[in-house]
């Protein structure tokens, strides 16, 4: 190996760490939070507790994975919480009132949710209404339908196979957590390895340039809203399985938690930068903070203050680091 190569390699290693530091600030934060919590609470690092965190994070995580696509395109979806509640109620009603077995009930529910997303996507892409407005409208509409379908009451009496969705285990791992990881991997694959993913990043970075480069902007937008709603639907059915019933008022905090997970992970609200891996970390940070703060005796009221601050601080750090790019 000659000197030149050596220099290149050392430079590459330097660059690698620099990038880690700049791009993966959040990973470092993540590490510190885990270490800090581990020191503060003896219970925190037990297997049982960690699996519990994973389980509690997985529903928000699944929604947040879908949300990542939307935010990467510089759009927003405020309706996911309501759509999740709608999905839980719809699947429960199909099973309890109409005697559907679990698989068809859930499949139909997810398809319906996908359709809801497609409709929002069409309004956004083809009619040019801002996604904030469209999804804000859907937030109310979906909640309304959840209440209409359930007549305002929880629908309980789900079969065991439905409950397995929220309560089952594969080995020691909770089923929702496994599902969450699988979904993250699938989303990662789509975002980083496919034409579709490239299209999403470029649309988020510059919509007009993407259109002029031949990317089917409208089509991709519509699909992405469909995907996001479908994911929200899936997480709504898992939630129903977990609490043994379809709750029309479930998921009130789901919207903000999902968006917060994406942002804390480090995906830019301006679009074009980020990824589902970051969302995985963001979701876990949120889960760990809640859990850890509970363990060390911080009241839920203060927890809200901490988490809110964290959201703002992450975005500030992102703005400072990427000032020129946005």
């Amino acid at each position: 190996m000659n000197n030149h190569e050596k220099k290149n390699i050392s430079q590459a290693i330097g660059n690698f760490f620099l990038t880690i530091f700049k791009e993966q600030t959040i990973l470092i934060v993540f590490g510190f939070i885990i270490i800090g919590m581990g020191i503060s609470s003896p219970v925190f690092l037990t297997r049982r507790n960690l699996l519990n965190i994973f389980l509690q994070s997985s529903m928000i995580g699944i929604t947040a994975s879908g949300m990542t696509f939307v935010i990467l395109m510089a759009e927003i979806d405020l309706s996911v919480g309501s759509v999740a509640a709608f999905a839980g109620v719809l699947a429960a009603k199909l099973q309890v009132m109409h005697g559907w077995t679990t698989m068809p009930a859930i499949a139909l529910t997810i398809v319906v949710c996908f359709g809801i997303g497609i409709v929002m996507g069409i309004v956004v892409a083809k009619l040019g209404v801002h996604s904030f407005v469209v999804t804000l409208g859907m937030l109310t509409i979906a909640r309304g339908f959840a209440l209409i379908i359930s007549e305002g009451h929880p629908i309980s009496g789900l079969t065991d196979s439905f409950k397995y969705l929220g309560q089952g285990k594969i080995g020691i791992f909770p089923f929702p957590a496994v599902l969450f990881l699988i979904i993250v991997i699938i989303c990662w694959f789509f975002l980083s390895q496919t034409k579709f993913g490239r299209g999403i990043y470029s649309i988020g970075g510059n919509k007009e340039a993407s259109r002029l480069s031949g990317i089917p902007v409208d089509l991709y937008k519509i699909i992405v809203f469909g995907v996001c709603s479908a994911m929200a639907g899936l997480s709504g059915t898992i939630l129903a399985g977990r609490v043994n019933s379809g709750q029309p008022i479930a998921g009130e905090s789901h919207n903000l938690d999902a968006i917060a997970s994406v942002i804390i992970g480090g995906t830019s609200l301006f679009g074009g930068r980020g990824g589902v891996g970051k969302t995985l970390i963001g979701t876990l940070i949120l889960g760990i903070l809640r859990n850890g703060l509970n363990l060390i005796g911080v009241t839920p009221y203060w927890q809200r203050v901490f988490i809110g601050t964290l959201i703002i601080v992450t975005v500030v750090i992102d703005r400072v680091q990427h000032r020129k790019e946005a």
Binding site: Q193, K195, S210, L212, R273, K324
Partner: protein, 497 residues
């Protein structure tokens, strides 16, 4: 005003290295240099946007520090930036008096609109600018916005006025208007600092010229002592060949033909481009040149007319239809319509050829890397690596990234809209050579440019547009800039005489 040994460093870059500069009352001092030479940094220090690391600033004999843009304004330094700082949805008067609106008396301190409009009108009249102060800024053309910007700069009494590439987006007669204004300012004793990439202008309005190169002061000359060639040499540090290179270019059969094409801003446009030919499209800003290109490409909808590719009638409704036919558009504003700034070079280059490097929608990363590296090398794109974000490249290299994108997509009908706007002399030459090479390899090129010398240098044939229709067509042989100008103003030869 006098600046001595100004030094400024950014992380990893010495942006200005002991630069000297001085300005006398009533003179226009031109600042030139390639992109990255430090012109903008120097200007930003004078206007208070950046702080200098070392050196002294002396104004009217007093040594002082300029703390921030507001402080600079109070010192009588007005700046007209390249990118406008106007609020599009407010009126001209509101923009001029932004933050300093005249207020009514009384506890509410409401804005005194009639007074504001009156004062704005007086100001505009005194500068001989013909714009209604009540009009909303968004409705103005680029040149008019610039005039508003100038008026804004002069709404406070200024002794020094800085123009950062004011003519980049202006048409020849608008430039004349601007120069008249600058002359007036000079005659009133205002010192003008003027940055430009266009060397022709330098001699028209400049008294003295200072050249910067790589953050270093090269020299200051009187405008009547130097030639364009001297300046270019000073800027680049080497001689640039400024001749037409047309060796071995063969013009083949017709590739693109447009018949009776009509859109929002133009009508009944007929033109054609042949294989290996570079055809220019001249005209004033707003004459419909850009719109013609955009409509051929499918970025805008056509209202009528037809487009033929190699004799076959084609219908293009969307850019992707054009790309499928290997027609590409290099847009006028690369930042807005061309590049995904927050994504790396490789993704930007491959963006339009994703189909050819993927199977069933899954990307073949190895193939992409090979292609991207090939184009970075072929077009000599200066970037630390293929993963560098496009936003960090210089203007010329950004332009090359877009060209690489189209070449990567194997496009051979190339529509170039202001391909060298805002890039420096060296990079300009490179882009010109690149265009000629492409033509030599059989591409058909249609290029819109506001710089007549550029069209005369590279085009085999030039169409001129006037108010939405073609008003002239000229071969390169015997073409003079007067002929283009007259056609652009819609004058026939007789009237011109």
């Amino acid at each position: 005003m006098k600046l001595e040994s100004i030094t400024k460093t950014f992380p990893g870059v010495l942006a200005l290295d002991r630069v000297n500069f001085d300005l006398k009352e009533g003179e226009a001092h031109i600042l030139i240099g390639e992109n990255g030479a430090g012109k903008s940094t120097l200007i930003k220090i004078i206007s208070g946007a950046y702080k200098k690391d070392a050196g002294t600033i002396i104004i009217d004999g007093n040594e002082l520090e300029i703390h921030n843009p507001r402080h600079a304004q109070e010192l009588g330094i007005a700046t007209v930036y390249q990118e406008f700082n106007l609020i599009p949805y407010q009126s001209v008067a509101e923009n001029i008096f932004l933050g300093r609106q005249p207020l009514k008396k009384g506890p509410l301190r409401r804005i005194d609109k009639p007074r504001m409009n009156r004062e704005a009108r007086e100001l505009l009249n005194s500068l001989e600018i013909d714009i209604d102060p009540k009009i909303i800024v968004r409705k103005l053309g680029i040149a008019q916005k610039q005039m508003v910007e100038i008026a804004k700069a002069f709404s406070v009494q200024s002794k020094i006025c800085i123009f950062d590439e004011p003519t980049a987006a202006l048409t020849p007669n608008e430039i004349q208007e601007l120069f008249k204004l600058i002359q007036r300012l000079k005659s009133e004793g205002v010192g003008v600092i003027y940055i430009s990439h266009r060397l022709e202008e330098v001699f028209t309005i400049g008294n003295r010229i200072t050249v910067l190169r790589n953050g270093q002061y090269v020299d200051t000359k009187n405008a009547d002592e130097v030639s364009t060639a001297d300046l270019v040499e000073m800027m680049v540090g080497r001689k640039i060949e400024e001749t037409r290179l047309d060796t071995g270019r063969k013009i083949g059969p017709e590739i693109l033909r447009v018949e009776e094409l009509t859109g929002e801003k133009f009508h009944d446009v007929n033109l054609n481009v042949r294989e290996g030919e570079i055809v220019g499209l001249a005209g004033l800003v707003g004459s419909g040149r850009t719109e013609v290109l955009r409509t051929i490409f499918g970025a805008d909808r056509a209202k009528g007319g037809s487009v033929f590719l190699k004799g076959e009638g084609i219908r293009i409704k969307e850019p992707k239809h054009a790309l499928a036919r290997k027609i590409a558009l290099l847009p006028e504003d690369r930042k807005v319509d061309g590049l995904v700034m927050c994504r790396p070079v490789d993704e930007n280059i491959i963006l339009s050829s994703l189909d050819s490097v993927s199977t069933a929608g899954i990307l073949k990363k190895g193939k992409i890397l090979k292609r991207v590296l090939n184009f970075i090398k072929k077009l000599d794109i200066k970037t630390p690596g293929h993963k560098q974000l496009v936003v960090y490249l210089s203007g010329g290299n950004q332009q090359k990234v877009i060209i690489a994108r189209w070449l990567c997509a194997e496009c051979d009908v190339l529509l170039f809209d202001e391909p060298t706007r805002g890039i420096d002399v060296g990079a300009k030459q490179e882009v010109h050579n690149l265009m000629k090479n492409l033509a030599r390899q059989g591409a058909a090129i249609l290029v819109v440019s506001s710089e007549i010398p550029e069209l005369m240098k590279i085009c085999d044939r030039t169409y001129v547009m006037h108010e939405g229709s073609i008003s002239g067509e000229f071969d390169a042989e015997g073409l003079t800039s007067d002929m283009i100008l007259n056609a652009a103003f819609g004058r026939t030869k007789k009237e011109a005489v």
